[in-house]
């Protein structure tokens, strides 16, 4: 069996993640050839991730501390949402459970029951390791012993995405991946099958391949420009179409969480790295001009700006199919969902994982291609509903932007989920999909979707034993967190970056 010639179009985070994974995990099955142009540049604006990325790095044999030092990374225990349900509100969406985890009745059901009985119970945050550690600015690696409370949180990273690509490039090239510098000026296709046969560079060189991975970003050179795969537009639910990004010096502690602050016409991110803090304002151009957005961002950031604001344009949605003919779209070339829940790198990873498992041996099989597209659609659709929830579950009425979000029609799949939660705190459970129960519970309650009832099984224990158990749990969580190191100190000891910016 001959090795497949895989041509990756575009460097950047998606391109180099794909190159490294294919070269490292399918040696002998494929020859990886990546084409990129330094003149084009990449979108990467400082990236917050989800815990799944750890599995990706692990499979590539990446040493965590080395990777974190190289990308100037910090730890991330969750996301703090500010001003979403109402101005002045704040909640954390944690990576981890509420309560000790396990058990057939979700912890929040007991909490709801006591609240509905009029008891004075502490905020749900205090029963989450991740939330408590985040609020206290502490960090330690989770325990592997599932009986222990300090095994009930996960973590991800916040890192400089412009450094992650080059880091992976080192791995990919060591495993034999080839890189060619140059701008693609033409794409050649087979007249009969429509498959892409080669890409042609400015200097006339043609790079031939059996399988093409489109990592060209918003340009979507193969899927859109060459194969004209239609785009499903989701902007009626997710109306933001611009972001303006600007890093600044960090003022105050380096937090082990990402900040997501609702603004009059969108929201603002705050991603603390070791050497700086990334900021950006994601907004809708229908409601806000680029200049006003930049001014609002400059006015809002905490420290001295390090660069001028840079504007990005996008549209929420995805290509109808991500794998068409012999072209597989990975990352922005296949779809875009705003980084509200840090899903960009996760969606890249999901596509790469599916490609690895469905990698063609002889001819590309339609069965494999359909399965790839089914898996990717599922990921996008589930993330989409979760994102829409953040906009729709609000009482904000301070601008026409929020009026639209609050009153817009939402997909039936989400309307049913919200109604179920409103009735008795039930979360629709799925085995697949990136966000699990605790994520949904955090956002619902954090944004004032308050259930009228609760799971009747939660009525079994006596209120006294329940209150005493909860008090002890919150105290244990607080005690464990307090013994942990300060996040900044942990970073300086574990993975200090080589040179300051």
């Amino acid at each position: 069996m001959a090795a497949k010639r895989v041509v990756i179009v575009g460097g950047g985070t998606a391109g180099w993640m794909a190159a490294a994974a294919l070269a490292k995990l399918l040696p002998g099955r494929c020859d990886v050839h990546l084409v990129e142009s330094e003149a084009i540049g990449i979108v990467g604006v400082g990236e917050a991730t989800l815990p799944h990325i750890r599995a990706f790095n692990e499979r590539l044999g990446i040493d965590e501390a080395d990777f974190m030092a190289a990308t100037r990374a910090t730890f991330k225990l969750g996301i703090e949402f500010v001003n979403w349900g109402r101005i002045g509100d704040s909640y954390i969406h944690p990576f981890g459970t509420f309560g000790p985890g396990g058990g057939e009745i979700d912890f929040h059901q007991f909490w709801l029951r006591l609240k509905q009985q009029g008891m004075n119970v502490p905020d749900l945050d205090l029963f989450s390791m991740a939330c408590t550690m985040a609020r206290m600015n502490r960090f330690a690696l989770p325990s592997h012993d599932s009986r222990r409370l300090d095994s009930t949180f996960g973590y991800a990273y916040q890192f400089d995405a412009t450094l992650y690509g080059p880091y992976l490039r080192g791995i990919a090239e060591k495993m034999g991946a080839k890189r060619t510098e140059g701008r693609i000026v033409a794409v050649h296709r087979d007249g009969e099958s429509g498959d892409v046969t080669s890409v042609q560079l400015e200097n006339g060189e043609r790079i031939e391949g059996d399988l093409f991975v489109d990592c060209s970003g918003f340009v979507s050179l193969l899927l859109d420009k060459t194969l004209s795969e239609p785009f499903e537009d989701w902007s009626r639910w997710l109306l933001n179409d611009r972001a303006t990004a600007m890093p600044c010096r960090t003022a105050g502690p380096v937090t082990p969480y990402t900040g997501v602050i609702a603004m009059p016409h969108g929201w603002r991110w705050r991603i603390p790295l070791q050497h700086r803090t990334g900021n950006g304002y994601v907004y809708s151009s229908q409601f806000l001009s680029d200049d006003d957005a930049a001014a609002a961002l400059i006015g809002a950031v905490e420290g001295e700006p390090i660069a001028e604001p840079r504007v990005l344009r996008f549209k929420a949605g995805r290509r109808r199919r991500s794998w068409v003919n012999n072209c597989v779209g990975v990352g922005l070339a296949s779809g875009f969902l705003e980084p509200l829940e840090s899903t960009s790198i996760y969606l890249i990873q999901a596509a790469i994982t599916a490609l690895l498992e469905l990698f063609p041996q002889d001819e590309i099989s339609p069965v494999d291609r359909n399965e790839f597209n089914r898996l990717i659609d599922l990921e996008y659709d589930r993330v989409r509903d979760f994102l829409i929830l953040h906009y729709h579950a609000t009482e904000r009425a301070d601008t026409p932007y929020w009026d639209y979000c609050r009153t817009m029609e939402i997909p039936d799949s989400l309307a049913e989920k919200m109604e179920l939660f409103r009735r008795r705190g039930r979360v629709v459970k799925y085995r697949e999909g990136v966000f699990l129960d605790a994520s949904w519970v955090a956002v619902y309650l954090g944004q004032r979707v308050i259930p009228q009832g609760h799971d009747l099984r939660a009525d079994a224990p006596s209120p006294e034993s329940l209150v005493a158990g909860m008090r002890k749990l919150a105290a244990d969580i607080h005690g464990l967190s307090e013994m942990m190191e300060d996040h900044g100190a942990y970073l300086r000891r574990y993975c200090p970056m080589k040179d300051a910016a």
Binding site: D362, L456, R457
Partner: protein, 493 residues
């Protein structure tokens, strides 16, 4: 929600009543204890899946209660003979089949070796399957490093003592019994909810929620609508025969299902009986001939045949009436899912108990989950027919019938490269699917490329070590009778 009436006095009705009382003590639960009809398979099939153990534990019952008070015994799996042409039988146990080597799953290694022509049967790598074949039994080892630590086991129920135990337990938990039958269902004018049952003694019984455990005819639920999704195109058996023979002195923990030109027959050993049965398509064999066939194997006369219609209600829960067991889904006993589906529905009912208004959105979620679960059980059963290799007309027809879409998806992916897609509410694990697929010689065209890192000789070496580690320990394990004897002696002390 305050008052619940459970209609049906068999093991299902009493199990539902016990679960409701135990989990939601605020409910008043009355059981209208109609004797179950003969065609209620949940009541008649004694072989159960490992989920029954969890169900008992949730109710606060131990394995010991079931074994000692209700004369149950253990079962580890099922041996399938004659399904895959003249290939040897295979065992579906509720266990791991091998362990992954390198980054690839075990079955990928097995398939690679099988294609090279050199490997032992897939079930040689399942400790429980090997234990079952040898007639031995042991509870799972606490030491997770042991090969005998990861299997599940079901129970073989005593058809008389088990319902009695469940009834006693439900009454102990505070359920109220109303003996006798009922003559009619009174609907409320404004919304079509069930208002009350007219009982034989002239009184009425009203409630907020009615739980229909009356078997396939669904005496209550059918009063609301009779929509039914028929699966007979895929599952052709429409008759069942039962013949109970005397129990063996040392009942095997392994049930046997043998394919037949007109269907399949089973032998299910337990402490109380050796249950023989025959599931067949009435178009392929006469009832008389079927009865003679079964008598030949069982050595006793079968009872009158039962007619079944396989399929499910699209909405088991409508308004204030929820159908459980055969009233909701009816499938042949192949793979012993009847009581499993009923238990699962009881758990779901308890977990999702709504207010009196039985809001459509809450019922929608309940029905969605039930449908997903039943459909995947259906797929797993159809899998046995769709991939079987036999020459009789029935089997040729089954091979040529297009499977349900979700099974087609599974089969397409597996045949292409040995992948199994995840479905929500799946009953059977990946290893279970693999046991049947590979047992019936469905071999993928391609295999997972991630296996390249491990050379084939290394796979074979590791696989041989796994087999030997299992085989070495089997002779030292107790037989079922020895094991049960030990438990009884310990309890007597």
């Amino acid at each position: 929600m305050r008052d619940v009436v459970v209609v049906g006095g068999g093991l299902l009705g009493w199990s539902a009543a016990a679960a409701l009382r135990r989990k939601i003590p605020a409910l008043r639960v009355t059981v209208a204890a109609l004797p179950p009809p003969v065609d209620a398979l949940v009541e008649r099939i004694g072989s159960t899946l490992p989920s029954i153990i969890e169900f008992h534990r949730d109710l606060g019952m131990s394995d010991g209660d079931a074994l000692l008070r209700a004369n149950c015994s253990f079962r580890l799996g099922t041996e399938f003979g004659g399904w895959a042409g003249d290939r040897p039988s295979y065992v579906h146990a509720y266990d791991r089949y091998g362990q992954g080597i390198g980054t690839a799953s075990f079955h990928v290694h097995w398939i690679r070796q099988a294609r090279l022509g050199a490997t032992q049967p897939f079930d040689a790598y399942s400790p429980a399957a090997q234990m079952a074949r040898a007639g031995r039994f042991l509870l799972p080892d606490d030491d997770l490093e042991s090969p005998f630590a990861h299997f599940g086991y079901g129970l073989a129920l005593d058809p008389v003592l088990y319902p009695q135990m469940m009834r006693a337990y439900a009454l102990h938990l505070g359920a109220i019994e109303r003996p006798g039958g009922f003559s009619g269902v009174n609907l409320r004018g404004e919304d079509g909810f069930i208002e009350s049952l007219a009982l034989d003694d002239g009184s009425t019984l009203s409630a907020d929620l009615f739980v229909d455990c009356t078997g396939p005819r669904a005496l209550l639920r059918s009063a609301l609508d009779t929509a039914y999704e028929d699966w007979s195109a895929w599952l052709p058996c429409d008759r069942l025969l039962f013949a109970d023979a005397a129990p063996a002195a040392d009942p095997s923990p392994l049930d046997i299902c043998i394919a037949h030109g007109a269907g399949w027959r089973w032998v299910a050993p337990s402490r109380s009986r050796t249950s023989h049965g025959f599931a067949y398509a009435s178009g392929e064999i006469s009832d008389d001939k079927a009865a003679r066939t079964l008598r030949g194997h069982a050595g006793v006369d079968p009872q009158a045949p039962i007619t079944i219609r396989q399929g499910r209600r699209p909405e088991p829960w409508l308004r204030n009436c929820v159908a459980l067991g055969d009233a909701a889904t009816m499938v042949e006993p192949l793979e012993w899912t009847n009581l499993h589906l009923a238990h699962s529905a009881i758990d779901r009912l308890v977990a999702m108990m709504p207010d009196r208004d039985c809001a459509p959105v809450e019922l929608w979620d309940y029905n969605r989950q039930c449908a997903a679960e039943s459909d995947r059980v259906r797929d797993f059963l159809v899998l046995h027919y769709a991939t079987a290799d036999r020459a009789e007309p029935l089997w040729r027809r089954m091979r040529d019938t297009a499977p349900p879409l979700s099974l087609k998806h599974t089969l397409d992916l597996f045949r292409e490269r040995g992948r199994l897609p995840f479905y929500e509410e799946e009953t059977f694990s990946r290893d279970s699917w693999l046991a049947v697929l590979l047992g019936q010689s469905v071999i993928p065209t391609h295999i997972d490329p991630l296996i390249d890192i491990v050379p084939s000789v290394q796979s074979e070496r590791t696989m041989a070590a796994m087999r030997e580690r299992i085989a070495r320990q089997i002779p030292a394990l107790p037989t079922q009778a020895q094991f049960l004897g030990n438990i009884q002696r310990q309890a007597a002390r």
